[in-house]
Every structure is written in C-alpha cells, then in structure tokens.
Symmetry: none
DNA sequence: CATGAATGAGTATTCATTCAT
DNA sequence: TATGAATGAATACTCATTCAT
C-alpha cells in the first residue's frame, strides 16, 4: 500500500519534472509569449490538463524554471571549480563553459527571457530579483578563490560575475539572432578582463 | 495651394514619425509581442486606423524601427568621434554613451528585442541580419582610428564592436530586470578590454 | 460662363458614369462584400473621395448599378427583337444572347448578387423587388409577340420570363463556379421548353 | 469508464453536429461573408471557442457543410427514387422535392453560396469542383433509370442534372429575393423539358 | 470636385484558464 | 491524476465612412 502511494507520488513527480524540463526548453526556444501551455505540455508528452494539475499557472512555471535553471548552473560550475585548481585553467574552462555548448546558448536565451519578463512584469520581478541576486552571489563566492589570484581592475567579484552573466546573455542573443555558431570572443574578452596572457603563450 | 498640399503631406509625415517614435518606445518597453498595434497608436495619440494608413503591418514597423534605431546610433557615435581626438578620451565617452543615459538602456532593450525576434522569426531574421552586420561594420569603421592606437588582444575591430554591442545589450537587460539605475561596469570593462589605465589615474 | 458650368457638370457626370461602370464590373467579379469602395474607385481611376462625392454610400451605388443593368438588358433585348421577326430565329438569338458571351455570364453573376442582397437586406429588397418585377414585365412584353407563336405549356409570359432569368442566373453561377466556358445547355432547354425542333433540323 | 469516455466523445460529436447544422443554416441565410464565426457559434448555442475546438477555420467548416449538404441531398433523392417506379411519378416527386419545401429553398441558397465562393476563391474552387462534379454524377446515375423512359432532347443525363441544379439554384434565388413562397414553375419546366404531358391529363 | 488621413466597428483567430468526466 | 471541451479576453487587420485640405 505504501508502495502504491509512493508509486503514484513518484508518477506525479515524474510528470512534473518532465513538464519542467519541457518548459525550460520551450521557453528558451520560443520565448515566454511564444511558449503556449499546449506546446509545453505537448513537448513533454502530456496535455494541458497535466500541466494545470502540476502548476497553477504559466507565470508559476516560469518561476520554477528560473529556480531549476539557476540551480543547475550552480551545480555545473561547482563541478567545474572542484576539478580545476589553477586560475588560468579555470579561466579557460569558464570560457568554454559559457561559450561552446549548445546548452549554454540556450541558457543565455533563457536568462534573456527571464530578464525581459522581470523588466516588464513587476510581479515576476519581485520573485526574480532576489533569485538573480542570490545566484550572482553564489557564483561570485564560487569563483572567488580562483579569481583572487588574478589581477582584476574590477570593483568586486560581484561585479565580475555580473559582467560575466551580461556577456553570456549578450553573446547568446547575438549568436542566436545571427544564426551563427559563433567564434570564441567570449574567451578572449575574459582573458582581456582578467589580464591573462593569450592561451598557450604562457 | 502648394502650401495646403505641403501641409497635408507634412501632416502625414508627422503622424508617421510620431508612430515610429511611439513604436520605438513601446517595443522597447513591452517587447514585440506585448506592443499591440492599439498600444502603439494610442501612445502616439492616434487610433489603429492611423497606424494602418501609415504602415502596412506590425512586422513592417518593426523593420522601420530597426532602421531608425541603427541610423540614430550611427549618427550619435559619429558626433562623438568627431569631437574626440584622443583614444582614451573616446573610450570614456563610449563608456558613458553606452551606459549612463536612460535612452541607452532603452536602446539595449530594443536591440535585445530585435535579436530575439530575429532568433525566432526567420522572415525577420532575413532582414535583420544584413542590417545588423552593416551596422556593426559602420561602427567598426568609425571606432577604428581611435581604437587603433590602443593595444587590443582582439581579433579584429569587428569583434570588438560585436563585444561592445553584446555587452551593451547584456548590461541593459540586467539593469532593467533589476530595476537598478546601475553602476558603471561598462566603463571598467571597456578599459580592461582596451588595456587602458584607470580613469583619472593616468 | 454657361460653358464652364456645363463642362464642370459634364465632368462630374463623366466621373459618375465611370464609377458606375466600374462598380458594375467589380460587383459582378467580386460580389457585394468583396467589392470595397476603394476597389471600385481605383478600378475607375479615382480615389475614395470621388466615390463619396458622387454616391452617398455603397448601398446606394448598388441600386444605381441595378437600374443601369436592367436598363441595358432591356435595350439589348429590344434591339434583338427588332431585328428578328420569326419566333424560331428569336429563340436562337435569345439562347445565344443569354449564353454565349462573357458579358452574359457577368450579367448572371450580377443578378445573383442583387438577388442575394435582396434576400438578406430588407432595405435593399424594398427597392429591388419593384425594379425586378418591372424588369420581368418589360421583358415579358418584349418577348410576347414572338413567343405567342410557339406552343407553350407555361402559365404566362411572366412565368416564362421568370424561368428564363432563373436559368440565366443558375447557369452563370454553375459555369463560373466550375471555371468552365460551358456548353450550350441554355439553348437546348429553351427549345425544349418552347417545343421547338432541334436547330438545323427543321 | 467506457461509459464516461463515450459520453465525452458523444458530447463532442453532438457539439460538432450542432455547429455544422448551425453553419448550414447561417451560411444559407447570411452568406459566407455575412456568417461570422461568432454568429455560427451563437446560433448553435455555443461560443467562438467551441467552434475552434471543433473546426480549424471558417474555410474548413464551409467544406464540411458542402459535404454534408451534398450527402443529404443524395440520401433524400435515393429515398425518393426507391419509392417511385414510374417515370412520370418520379417527375412529380422531383418537382415537388425541388420546389415546395422551405428546406429546398435553403438548399438552393446554399448552393448559390458555394458556387459564388468557388467562383471567387480559387482555393475553395479546388475542393468544390470535384465535389460538385461527383455530386452531379451521382444524381445523374440515380435519375437515369426513370428518366431513360422519357424522351429527352438533351445531350446526356449529366446535362439534364446540370440544368436541374441550375434551375433549382436560380429559382431559389428568385423566390428568396422576392420574398415570395413562389408558384410551381419548377414542375412545369420539368415536364416541359421531359416532354411529359400535363399532370393528371395523361 | 476630388483627395486621402483618420476613425472605429467588425472579423478571424489564438490562448490561458476552468471544470466536468 | 490527467483529459480535453468550452470559455472569453485579446490581437492583427479590413473597410465604410467622415472631413479638413
């Protein structure tokens, strides 16, 4: 009996996760306006009904996606930092992380969408601002050790993280809008900001 | 008689300009989807009908706004460059230009909107991509002289301009989403990229 | 001075005639709904303004077209009858008149449009019904002499004319809807109704 | 469980049928242009939304109405023919069928609307022409036996059917436009075409 | 007289949301 | 829990009509 209940709950949980994953992709691909509830549900293999059984509204799933997205980004970067001890190496990894992968561009588009929504919908902004600030803080803390070793003309780690995020979003938008797979400007900017020597030259 | 005719044409021209200006603001504030034709017309002090006797469709006014926006930006920067001979001074002006004013943030939001639209609507992309490329080219040419004097680790002036634009968009989004009037990160990043000394320290 | 006034009036008259002619064609081709005032004016080489200087409304020009159309049909048939003395020959002419020409199909489409409008708009019906009745009467009178010679199982010349008109409209619609230039069913039906022998066999 | 599902499906089916029936009436009464989606839905006792969850567009419901209409006409005539063995009797039934009832006039108006739409919208024409041709074929086959017994000066059964349909449409339009319940011209024409003696005299 | 800018009611269609099954 | 039928507000766009020029 307990088993059954658990199974049911697990089933529900799975549905919710799939919908969340779907929303993450669909918001990133089509934007908040272009992502209809039908589309999100359909992409997850369900119908509208499943959506409304798991999320109270489209607004709410956007918040859930925001949280999931920041959580994942933090986890990814934590892994990255644990593996790298050297500041210069970290720098390279960061550059690659933020630039190379398909997923990263999606992430940039998603963040753009969050920011636009926050800029336009005060209700969303109220939730978004603290999450974003907290996220920036976490990233700053995370990057602090390694970055501390490098000479920075920036005010604070927070500022550096902010610029990192801004660049990530700005470059993602530019790439996606040009339908180009893009170069590696991101890395060069990073090195430039951090005063690091050219890769492979040091 | 000529007077009357001219007045009529001028009247129409004025309406068109007001609608364009209104669209520029409304697109920037609410995004393409959120900017209903009614809203654009209303904000300009007209009704829907006036809109459609001046622009064939919402798609078309977006293009017109794009062209007007890039034209203005080019003109503004041309003025800026003419006034400044020194690279370092130019740098400061650029930093201020891209960061300080209300108008600039709007410009960033607008560019974000263009890029999102281009990423999602292939028809718009077809028009947007050449305009954007041309614009980047123009800005590069414009900035080339002054920037040539500074040591740059970037591939090309185009790349520098691209990063400038990406940062401008990314920072605008971040500021607007945080409802903060923001700091002056932009300037610091610029100096950092350009290898220039801190302002007032040289 | 009288000259100038006359010229002006004539000019106005010409405009009106051209608009009427244009409306006749445009209503026939696109239907009442599909015939926008702009289209009618444009087809006549004018703008909306000219239209409203000459006709109080779209409803009104439909009535004017109705009158012009029936007037023309009567004139055409009068000419036809004057030229033909023999009933059988008249029959052939009628068949050809109602069937062969491009203009006739247009006329059928136009009448269909009048009838639909009358069926749907009581205000138009009030004007249309007497005009139609009068027209049917006129045609009946006109055809009476010749038809009298033929053996008819129909109640009255009016009924015959009514059927003639119904067939004309029905066949026009059928042809036009099939985009076929059509055969000569009309003639055969006529002969059949009138008890006439096959053409060329007598 | 099966019961519930069936009920749901049945409910949807019922809605669809009601909307179709409503469209049939509303198209016939107001024409394609005059039949707004709102009106169709409202006449069926629903709102716009119900319409769009049952039909993809107004264009599509017109096609559905076309198919339903021809299907019904065929069924009705099949019943008629099965009951009557004698050609002359069939003739009378046909005359009554095509002329007497309210429903028949509506059918004529509806066919007029189909034909106008086909004449003006190439996309609709593409669907309409084969359906119409097929329908004419079916009716011809159906009427063939009985009509074979009668002397006909027409080219083919198809031609006869075509004329029948044209007359039906033409007379319906005339009646409806005159707001008259009309006489029985149809029957007399039929007898005349078919060379049959006056009813009750043979 | 004729022009054409502007109005505003009307149309097809989309989509977030509700609720009976 | 999940379904999907139905709602109704919102949106882009059309077009008859008015009126200042």
């Amino acid at each position: 009996m307990k088993r059954k209940r658990l199974t049911r709950e697990e089933g529900k949980q799975q549905t919710k996760e799939r919908l969340l994953e779907s929303a993450l992709e669909v918001f990133s691909r089509y934007g908040y306006e272009g992502a209809s509830v039908d589309r999100i549900a359909d992409h997850a293999g369900y119908t509208k009904g499943a959506f409304y059984s798991n999320f109270p509204s489209k607004d709410e799933i956007l918040l859930a996606v925001l949280e999931e997205h920041t959580r994942r980004e933090l986890v990814d970067l934590e892994e990255l930092v644990q593996m790298e001890a050297d500041g210069t190496q970290l720098l390279e990894c960061l550059a690659q992380y933020y630039e190379s992968s398909r997923t990263r561009v999606d992430a940039g588009m998603l963040m753009a969408e969050f920011q636009l929504q926050s800029a336009r919908d005060p209700k969303f902004a109220k939730k978004f601002i603290p999450v974003f600030t907290q996220h920036q803080e976490s990233l700053s803390l995370l990057l602090n050790r390694a970055l501390g070793k490098l000479s920075l003309n920036l005010e604070s780690p927070q500022e550096f993280t902010g610029i990192l995020m801004a660049l990530s979003v700005g470059i993602a938008l530019q790439k996606q809008s040009q339908r180009s797979s893009g170069g590696d400007s991101f890395g060069r900017v990073l090195r430039q900001i951090l005063g690091a020597p050219e890769q492979g030259k040091g």
